[in-house]
């Protein structure tokens, strides 16, 4: 029965989107029939592919930066021998489990032209009133900052799990054999925690690639992402479901390929049971 549910409300709808992308179904009455027209103009026009590439770059920056930030956090919790590691882990992760929209809202309040940072700068006289740092909000920077803020607590988890399961005797052995801390880290700890790092990276990269809520709230025009384009093509202005369906299926294909290629690193069960 759970499988039937997913077939009807998950697989079937995606199949319908695919059908739209080949013009088997259409929003407007008129000529129907299988065609690759929308796909070929998607690939040839370049507009959408450039936007997709821009989103890939933004997601890569977000994922890379926060994996680098989260690694020392996880390392500290797993290997420094602190007694309260689970409490600290919970402190770290708790914000991730609270409202997504409200955390975006907080940054809107902080970054705006009349926001907390700018008004603080006016008040203290660092910037003269009327000359806010406008690039803070409605920019690519804002999208990357907010997405990083949102996902940072979460990426620490898979890295923590992989470091936690590391056999500490290996490190002792490395030490006994005369390895320095740096050598032990480079030759033992880092390679053994790499699966966790890759998993963490993908856990952020995959969802942020299709992100549209954060960019629509704090991105303005420069922070516009591929996901926003999909939403707009299905929006109320000038709907073009056929092109929208092509964009959606293309994104889904990329995500599926990533998931399959890296499936041996993506073991959500390991994370969830901890």
């Amino acid at each position: 029965m759970p499988l039937a549910w997913l077939v009807v409300f998950f697989v079937l709808p995606i199949a319908i989107v695919a059908a739209y992308s080949f013009n088997v179904y259409s929003l407007y009455p008129g000529q129907h029939g299988f065609t690759l027209g929308a796909w070929s103009s998607f690939i040839h026009s370049g507009v959408y592919l450039r936007l997709f590439w821009k989103s890939v770059q933004m997601s890569l920056i977000v994922s890379a930066v926060i994996v680098v930030l989260a690694y020392p956090l996880a390392y500290y919790l797993a290997l420094s021998g602190t007694k309260r590691k689970y409490v600290l882990l919970l402190v770290l992760i708790a914000p991730f489990l609270t409202s997504y929209l409200l955390r975006v809202l907080a940054w809107k309040v902080i970054l705006g032209d009349e926001g907390v940072i700018n008004s603080f700068l006016f008040w203290t006289g660092i910037r003269s009133p009327g000359h806010p740092i406008s690039a803070l909000l409605y920019s690519r920077f804002a999208v990357i900052l907010v997405l990083g803020y949102i996902w940072l607590p979460f990426v620490a988890l898979p890295i923590f799990v992989s470091l936690e399961s590391l056999d500490r005797r290996l490190l002792e052995a490395a030490g006994d054999l005369g390895a320095s801390r740096l050598q032990a880290f480079r030759r033992v700890t880092l390679p053994l925690s790499l699966p966790g790092v890759i998993a963490a990276f993908l856990f952020v990269f995959i969802p942020t690639l299709g992100e549209f809520v954060t960019p629509s709230l704090v991105g303005g025009t420069t922070g516009y992402m591929y996901g926003n384009q999909i939403v707009d093509l299905f929006g109320t202005g000038f709907p073009d479901w056929e092109t929208g369906a092509v964009l959606a299926i293309f994104l889904l294909l990329v995500v599926t390929i990533l998931t399959v290629v890296f499936s041996r690193f993506l073991q959500p069960r390991q994370v969830a049971t901890d």
Partner: protein
């Protein structure tokens, strides 16, 4: 010598950890401060202390309606997701059948689908079927999203408990249903409760998918999103934000501590 970390290194990491925690909680604290600020816009300098915004949102019927709607949607969808999740988990752990790996992959696949893609897929499905968009369509979408989370929580618990307990019950003549009710369910209850909580909070906070299939009656995230576009409502929204964030922090931490103590007790 501790090969993993030097004393100095541990100290530096502790400071770094602290800084990150400050970074994570500062925005929440800033919201808290400005929710009591006596001004129409959240700007420095602070202009006075007030409970005005809290009173304002307490008497805002649209907002209360949206919270109520979200509570209904979240209850129904998490109930649905947990029921399906228990069934799927039992099948995955207790039965042997062909295509199990494929079934398991399908059951977990909603974890990785971009919500924008799933949202438009549901939109097109309901469009094709001629189904009116409304709370029911949102509930359906949320069940799909939450289902993998419930499975991820329940399966490990089922793997922990000894299946010979269930076999003993069958040998003593208990039916499948009776065995489930008297043996399996009580043993997996802590996991079921936390699965329910996870599904509930997922649904309560879900905007992306809901935005495509919502009807005229809005859920809390949908209300919030549209309120973010009107600056006049901002102080009220900040007050609501503080309440929701604090309540969810307390629930999350409480649930996690509760689960740990329960698991320690049951073993």
């Amino acid at each position: 010598m501790d090969v993993a970390i030097s004393n100095k290194g541990a100290w530096a990491l502790r400071v770094f950890f602290l800084l990150v925690v400050v970074f994570l909680y500062a925005p929440i604290v800033i919201l808290l401060i400005f929710s009591f600020n006596n001004s129409d816009v959240p700007t420095f300098p602070l202009s006075g202390f007030t409970f005005h915004w809290y009173r304002e949102f307490a008497s805002n019927s649209d907002l209360r309606g949206a919270l109520e709607t979200s509570a209904i949607v979240a209850s129904l969808s998490s109930l649905g997701a947990v029921v399906l999740g228990v069934m799927a988990s039992l099948a995955l752990t207790r039965r042997v059948f062909r295509g199990k790996a494929a079934a398991s992959a399908l059951l977990l696949s909603p974890l990785v689908i971009p919500y924008v893609v799933f949202g438009i897929s549901l939109l097109l499905l309901f469009h094709q079927l001629g189904v009116q968009r409304g709370l029911l369509t949102v509930v359906i979408g949320h069940i799909v999203i939450s289902l993998p989370y419930t499975i991820l929580v329940i399966v490990p618990r089922l793997e922990q408990i000894d299946s010979s307990l269930e076999e003993a019950a069958y040998d003593l003549g208990a039916s499948r249903l009776r065995t489930f009710r008297s043996i399996t369910l009580p043993l997996i209850l802590p996991a079921v409760v936390s699965a329910f909580l996870i599904a509930f909070t997922t649904s309560f906070d879900e905007y992306a998918v809901a935005s495509f299939v919502i009807g005229t009656r809005v859920t809390f995230p949908i209300y919030l999103y549209s309120a973010l576009r009107f600056p006049s409502q901002l102080p009220q929204v900040i007050a609501v934000a503080v309440v929701v964030l604090l309540v969810s922090l307390v629930v999350v931490i409480g649930a996690e501590l509760g689960r740990r103590t329960a698991e320690r007790r049951v073993g």
